[in-house]
Symmetry: C2
Subunit: 131 residues, 2 copies
DNA sequence: ACCTGTGTATTAGCTATCTAATACACTAAG
DNA sequence: CTTAGTGTATTAGATAGCTAATACACAGGT
């Protein structure tokens, strides 16, 4: 699926939440597809099942996942379409954080943009490879 | 100086550390200039003095700041030049995190790059304005 | 000398996170 | 029915980070 980065200060459950969202956005997880069970994903990521459960619950609340109790968890048929304002807001916050660190380490704007482009395409490619 | 973002999962001492580095990179803090005292900056940021002290100590260990005990803290005369490999490594990690969230929220590469450009220039402008 | 402002250190308590170990209710398959 | 596999809930413990309060040693100005 994806990997957990212990060096990332973001909580693990948030990393899982974002990882699932990313897989769906990339098309690796199609609507209706089943998602790994809480225990399986926990074992895969070397993480506690409770942590995975927390991420799944948040995704279910957001309408991204559909929980069939006692049966399993699936990708919701209709993915919620976030308002453009919300999406841009989240992206904007992330951009500010990234730009701040880029400036702090003394990188020019061009270098910062280059790194984003290669990183973006590398993430996409990485998932294409596994498919 | 700068602001602390409580929503950022990064520890406050790390935000302070990066904030100081950013001010130096922007030229707002020249070598030899005095930095706000631990207590003053703590009061300014509405944060505990211990947290500021931790950031200052890390910056002093890294050669970014020079501590004159009992007198004050100053920007080091010779700023350490991080190896290009180190700087690129830090930037690369940040770029991967940013690209991941951009993909997760369903943004195209072009939009992600645009947000970085505006954010970068906005941070720079914001500091130019205060100067 | 005295006092104020430095950085530094220590101790305690709080909150969030993660882990671990169970336990429960539900569904599907044998 | 029994069993295995779901999601879910609870409890306890460990750790990291932040806060608060206090104290110490040093430098500089009065």
């Amino acid at each position: 699926m994806f990997a957990i980065n212990p060096a990332d200060p973001a909580p693990i459950w948030r990393q899982i939440e974002e990882g699932v969202r990313r897989l769906i956005a990339l098309g690796a997880l199609q609507p209706g597809a089943s998602v790994p069970s809480v225990r399986d994903l926990a074992k895969d990521l070397r993480v506690n099942p409770n942590t995975v459960a927390r991420a799944y619950q948040r995704l279910a609340e957001g309408g991204v996942l559909l929980v069939k109790r006692g049966e399993g968890t699936y990708v919701a048929d209709e993915q919620p379409q976030p308002k453009k304002a919300q999406r841009n807001g989240a992206l904007r916050d992330a951009a500010v954080r990234y730009a701040s660190t880029a400036i702090a380490v003394g990188s020019a704007l061009e270098d910062a943009v280059d790194e984003v482009e290669t990183a973006y395409q590398r993430v996409v490619r990485e998932h294409r490879r596994k498919a």
